[in-house]
Symmetry: C2
Subunit: 431 residues, 2 copies
């Protein structure tokens, strides 16, 4: 399945996930601690999780934030991604281990100790962290929690609820757990994500862990992961910010044969579905926009235009208010192109909203009647942003922009709107 | 004067403007019309204004939006800026004449008719429009209003209230009139602006008209105008959007001699002051940030970093909430540099807020105590965004970023915060 029309379908999807792919084990634990940086406050809760393969694998891949001041886990992962084999990941939420003194050594010690308790080489684990920037990991408390984590990893690895437990344990301000799964023959691809929740001095960090028991070569997995990014995890935008900790990791336990074409298609489709779950999860998201841009041979330029429209605060607030505001879309397109030193022939440019043509031949083609129809269309695509928790539908506000030149296929960007709930979530935490 | 500590000082500034510089006349009128695009609504009000020189001048200059789908007035102005002489500008608010059928011919006919009534060549007038995108100018009603405008231009050109009348007549959703003036010897430079008000299908259009009776050569005026942009009108950001209609025009009536160095210094200072007025005027602005970036030889890169911080919705909402959120600033810096393919040595990077060092040597240097001091600092710099109208102070939230490399002077960007009032202003117009 790729979509869901209502919450009931989303719940059915979560209930029908099945166990982890074969050859993987996972576990989670939680504890509270008093952060040194905020001594007078209530205790903080941290979840600690691990996903490991039964044996080390040479089939693993990763993609990491391009942020120029990345966190310690990213610095370690960039090194370990070049190793011949890896065996899993150790994950914590609450503190991201970015810009904290000695953060790198702490992460390495925790992975070593987790490995010792699990009977595997700790340098074969990727550390992965999300949460507050600038604070130190509570190493003492985390170390004390590792034996419990190791015990939980010793439970039944085929338990149906295990994937959902992991998805819940890596959440920070996420409003619902995000997992997608696809089957090919006897094997499966399962992807677990957190992302797009923003609160406290925290980032919209995206963590994605993709587990498969399908046997593909290492270079195929690495190639397919890169291919999946443009239409998937790199095509989404909530704030326009790329966090210091974004990380996508994929592992194969190599249990079942698969046609490479099938694997590629299902892997890319799964990543796109999960990307949409992440955008929909943005705190206070009322609408998800699909901005499709065509009519130029330069795919990078098409994506840049889509991103400019999706990141424009004026477009985002208009969509939030169910306002089919053609002027703001037009201006964002022209602003982006102008800044990039590219000209646009406005007589060949067309813009549509929800399939209705609203701009052509250099002028608005929206009547008062169409405007009312489109305001209704926008309202129909919305979720109530005041109802948090599981998504109410998988509707998209479709904005199509054709630049009018020669070009291949359309590029698509997915973006959230911007409303009062976003401001409250991101500004009001001290009140 | 360049600053004002409270509303009383701002009112004193407005009362002390004096008349237009010598050699200029101005007038304004207003009328209502029923827009064809929204037949069932209330009548709309439009203000129509003109500022003209007593004789055509060869000393004029202009800077225009780089938006790739500009409005008809911009297309006409880009041509007329190359003419040997010009004599003034005809300005309307309410409708921006962008992407409207036949918009260019309409603007040219209106300028021709205004010129005929004023006894000057209409092709020596720049048309200038701001307001709703996509609608046609109400040409019939505007033409009918031109005789009244011409009569008003026949009044006393030395009247003290005239500059303020023009500043008020070009406002759209601006919350206060914006004028700055500087004297050098017997002559003056006066600049009148609108901008940064956003509502309806309207853009944050900035219009600036700079009038001087100081006698400088044409090429000096053009050069100084370009020099003023980097630290002035190009250094400000409310939405990150550049509208389809942004326009800066400058004219000299060449009445009084001036040292070119004096002129340059006062002109650039005046443009910076007026730029800050425009940011402060953003609907719902609670804080104005001054983001100063140093430590790299590439000034464009420094400005790009400053803009990324000032445009980050996460930084903007944190500042709105008086939250000294170092993580979001750090992440915005790293995100921008990473996307530009530039590395940052985080051990040499420093960040300060309000003069307090909050990041150095790769780690946060903010204690719980400093955090409370800085939250207080942010609150002190704020205006109450719920009180519209004249600005309550000229305070700035000072964020200083040093990239740690070799570099010359700091580049400064000025940006507004983002809060509930911004969302209401931009999303709720249908309610």
């Amino acid at each position: 399945m790729s979509g869901f029309k209502n919450q009931r379908e989303y719940f059915r999807h979560l209930r029908g996930l099945g166990p982890l792919p074969e050859g993987f084990r996972a576990g989670t634990t939680s504890f509270t601690f008093m952060p040194a940086e905020r001594p007078s406050e209530e205790p903080y809760r941290m979840d600690l999780s691990a996903v490991v393969l039964d044996e080390p694998t040479d089939v693993f891949a990763g993609a990491f934030t391009r942020n120029a001041v990345p966190g310690a886990p990213i610095l370690i992962a960039r090194e370990r991604i070049g190793k011949p084999r890896m065996q899993g990941v150790l994950i914590n939420n609450r503190i991201s281990n970015v810009a904290a003194s000695g953060g790198r050594a702490t992460a390495e010690r925790l992975a070593a100790e987790a490995g010792r308790l699990l009977g595997i080489d700790g340098s074969l684990l990727f550390p992965s962290s999300t949460g507050i920037i600038g604070w130190a990991l509570p190493e003492t408390e985390m170390t004390a929690a590792l034996p419990d984590l190791a015990r939980n990893l010793g439970g039944d690895p085929r338990r149906d609820g295990l994937p959902l437990d992991i998805a819940r344990a890596i959440m920070t301000t996420d409003s619902f757990p995000k997992i997608r799964v696809r089957s090919i023959g006897a094997g499966r691809i399962m992807a677990i994500a957190k992302g797009a929740g923003m609160i406290e001095p925290n980032m919209a960090t995206m963590l994605v862990f993709i587990l498969t028991d399908l046997d593909i070569p290492r270079d195929v997995l690495r190639e397919v992961l890169v291919q999946s990014l443009d239409g998937g995890f790199n095509a989404i935008s909530v704030d326009g910010d790329q966090s210091t900790s974004d990380m996508v990791l994929a592992f194969s336990s190599r249990r079942f044969p698969v046609e490479l074409g099938d694997f590629r298609r299902e892997f890319i489709g799964l990543c796109r579905d999960l990307s949409l779950d992440i955008v929909r999860n943005g705190e206070g998201t009322g609408h998800v926009m699909e901005i499709s841009v065509s009519g130029d041979a330069d795919a990078d330029f098409l994506r840049m235009i889509g991103r400019a429209v999706g990141n424009s605060p004026l477009v985002k607030t208009a969509v939030y208010g169910n306002d089919p505001n053609v002027g703001r879309i037009l201006s964002a397109v022209g602003d982006c192109a102008g800044n990039a030193g590219r000209s646009i022939d406005s007589r060949r440019l067309t813009i549509s909203i929800g399939g209705h043509r609203v701009f052509a031949d250099g002028v608005f083609t929206i009547s008062r009647e169409t405007e009312e129809i489109l305001a209704g269309y926008l309202a129909e695509q919305s979720q109530n942003p005041r109802i948090s928790g599981y998504p109410q539908n998988d509707n998209l506000v479709k904005i199509a922009i054709d630049l009018g030149g020669e070009g291949g296929k359309a590029e698509r960007i997915y973006a959230s709107d911007l409303g009062h709930e976003y401001v409250s979530e991101n500004a009001d935490y001290r009140t």
